[in-house]
C-alpha cells in the first residue's frame, strides 16, 4: 500500500485504533482532496507571510529568497491564502486532471 498517504491494510493497523507513532499525521496526503491549486505571482508578492499565517495546514514555508513556497502534498485547495493575500498575488487555478 502507498506509504505516502498513510494508508495501511487492516492487518497493519495499530491495535485497537491507537496511534503509536506521534506526529504521523504529517504523512497523510491531503493534497489529493484539492480541486483548485494556489499559485503565487512573485511580481506582486511582497513576502508579507499572510499566506503562511492563515494557511490551516502546513503548505507554506519560507524559501531562501524570502518568498513563501507551497508544498502541495498537504494543500486541500481551500483558497484561504488567496482570499487573505493583501496584494492579490495568489490565484486559484483549477486542477485539470
Amino acid at each position: 500500500m502507498a506509504k505516502e498517504t498513510g494508508i495501511k491494510s487492516w492487518k497493519e493497523l495499530d491495535f485497537g485504533l491507537t496511534i503509536t507513532d506521534p506526529g504521523c499525521a504529517a504523512e497523510l496526503k491531503t493534497g489529493d482532496w484539492r480541486s483548485m491549486r494556489p499559485e503565487t505571482d512573485r511580481e506582486k508578492c511582497t513576502r508579507c507571510g499572510q499566506c503562511y499565517i492563515f494557511c490551516p495546514d502546513m503548505v507554506y514555508s519560507k524559501d531562501s529568497e524570502g518568498y513563501y513556497a507551497q508544498n502541495y502534498y498537504w494543500c486541500k485547495g481551500c483558497g484561504i491564502c488567496a482570499r487573505e493575500c493583501p496584494v492579490d498575488a495568489i490565484t486559484m487555478i483549477e486542477e485539470v486532471d
Partner: protein, 392 residues
C-alpha cells in the same frame, strides 16, 4: 472447593467482582442493577476492596470513565440495564473498538415506553451489534462464574474486548440462591493480573481513537470484526480451564434432552430453567422434546447451535423482546437461528414466539402451548412470529 451458601444473586456478583480485585468501578444506580453497585460501593467504603469507586452522574459518564480507566490499564467494572444501557450505548461501541476489556453486568430489564422496571431482553438485544462479548447466565451460580470468566476472557491478549454478563433482572438479580462462592486464592490462580496490550502512559505516549476517513474506516471495522471472530475458540478454551479448576463445565450452547428430540426449544437466560421443567413434563407425556440454551450470544455460536438443533423437525424459538421490524421477519434470536439453518440448508418447521415481555411470567403451560402450536402447524405454515400469552 467452597460449599454453596444462600446469597442474593446481585450481592454474589458484587462479591465475585470484588474477589477479582477490580481496580475501578464506575457506575450509576438503576433498578434492578442497584444492589450490585451498592454492594461494591460498600466493599470499597468499608475497606474490604482496594478500588476506586467513581459515583458518576449518569451511565454515559460511567462508560466514559470506564474507557479512561481501562485504557490506563486498570481492571474496570460497571453495571447497568435498560434506559441506563441506552444512555451509555454510544460509548459501548467505542470501548469495543478500542479493545478495552471492561466487564459490565447487565441486570436485564425491558426498555421504555411504557416505563417498567421488570425483566426482558430488550437491553441485551440492543447491545448485540456493539462488538462486546455477551455472556448470558441462567442462574445465580452462573452469574458469579460468568463474572469471573468475563475478566479472564476479556483480558486474554487473544481477545482484549469488553464483556457483558447478562442476568435476568429481579428473576435472578433479586433472588436468594445457593451459590458456591470461589475463594480469593482460587480466583488468583485462575485470573492473572491485567496486562493490557497498550495503555495510556506518559512515558510512552499513544493516541486512542483518532478520527479516520473513508480510506481507513473499512479496514478498522474489518480488523475489529476479525478480533471478535477469533474469540469463539478462546472462550470455550477458558470455559474448559474454569471447569478444571472449579469443576463446573460451561459450553457456548447448552442442551437438555435434545439428542433424540423431534421438537427443540431454543431460549436464552433464566426461562430455560422453566423450559427444562416443561421438557420433563412433556417427556412424561411421551413427547420427544428438548431445549437448547444459547450462553454466548456474541460471538454467535452458529456451528455449535446448528449441531445442537440439526436433528429437530420442529423448532420453538423464543424471543424476549419486540424488535418492531414490520411483521414479516422474526425476532432477533430467531433471525440468527434461521440464518444458521439457511446456511446449512436445513428447513425444519419454525415457530418464533415473543414471550416474557416486561416481566410477564413464562409458564410451563406456555412452553407446552408453543410446542403444540409448532407441532400442529399445517404444512409448516407459521407466521414470522407470534405473541404468546397476550390478551385479545
Amino acid at each position: 472447593m467452597s460449599k454453596p451458601i444462600g446469597i442474593e444473586v446481585s450481592i454474589a456478583v458484587a462479591e465475585a467482582v470484588g474477589l477479582c480485585d477490580v481496580d475501578v468501578v464506575a457506575a450509576y444506580p438503576i433498578t434492578p442493577q442497584t444492589h450490585i453497585v451498592e454492594h461494591l460501593a460498600e466493599l470499597v467504603a468499608d475497606g474490604h476492596l482496594d478500588a476506586d469507586f467513581v459515583p458518576v452522574e449518569s451511565e454515559h459518564s460511567a462508560m466514559s470513565a470506564c474507557i479512561g480507566s481501562s485504557a490506563a490499564g486498570a481492571r474496570t467494572f460497571t453495571s447497568t440495564c435498560s434506559q441506563g444501557y441506552a444512555l451509555m450505548s454510544e460509548l459501548c461501541y467505542i470501548a469495543s473498538a478500542l479493545r478495552l476489556p471492561i466487564v459490565m453486568a447487565v441486570a436485564n430489564r425491558a426498555l421504555s415506553a411504557p416505563i417498567t422496571i421488570l425483566n426482558d431482553h430488550a437491553d441485551l438485544m440492543y447491545a448485540r451489534d456493539t462488538g462486546w462479548i455477551q455472556l448470558i447466565a441462567e442462574d445465580g451460580q452462573e452469574a458469579v462464574d460468568m463474572s469471573v470468566l468475563a475478566f479472564r476472557i476479556g483480558e486474554d491478549k487473544r481477545v482484549s474486548l469488553p464483556v457483558q454478563v447478562n442476568l435476568d433482572g429481579f428473576t435472578m438479580s433479586h433472588v436468594i440462591e445457593p451459590i458456591a462462592m470461589p475463594d480469593q486464592e482460587e480466583i488468583k490462580r485462575f485470573l492473572p493480573p491485567f496486562k493490557p496490550v497498550l495503555r495510556l502512559d506518559p512515558a510512552k505516549p499513544v493516541t486512542f481513537g483518532p478520527v479516520v476517513m473513508s480510506d481507513v474506516y473499512t479496514e478498522a471495522r474489518k480488523a475489529q470484526d476479525e478480533a471478535l471472530k477469533a474469540t469463539k475458540p478462546v472462550i470455550q478454551e477458558l470455559f474448559d480451564d474454569f471447569a478444571r479448576q472449579f469443576g463446573r463445565q460451561y459450553k457456548l450452547v447448552e442442551t437438555y434432552k435434545t439428542e433424540d428430540a423431534d421438537t427443540i426449544i431454543v431460549a436464552i437466560g433464566s426461562i430455560a430453567q422453566t423450559g427444562m421443567t416443561a421438557v420433563d413434563t412433556m417427556r412424561a407425556k411421551g413427547k420427544k422434546v428438548g431445549i437448547a440454551r444459547i450462553r454466548v450470544f456474541r460471538p454467535f455460536p452458529g456451528a455449535e447451535l446448528f449441531e445442537a438443533i440439526k436433528g429437530a423437525k420442529n423448532l420453538v424459538l423464543l424471543d424476549r423482546v419486540t424488535s418492531f421490524a414490520g411483521g414479516e421477519i422474526s425476532g432477533p434470536v430467531a433471525l440468527e437461528i434461521k440464518s444458521v439453518l439457511f446456511d446449512n440448508k436445513r428447513f425444519p418447521t419454525v415457530g418464533n414466539f415473543l414471550v416474557g415481555l416486561g416481566g410477564r411470567d413464562v409458564t410451563g403451560q406456555n412452553f407446552e402451548e408453543m410446542v403444540e402450536r409448532v407441532a400442529s402447524a399445517k404444512n409448516g405454515d407459521l407466521p414470522a412470529y407470534e405473541f404468546i400469552n397476550v390478551r385479545e
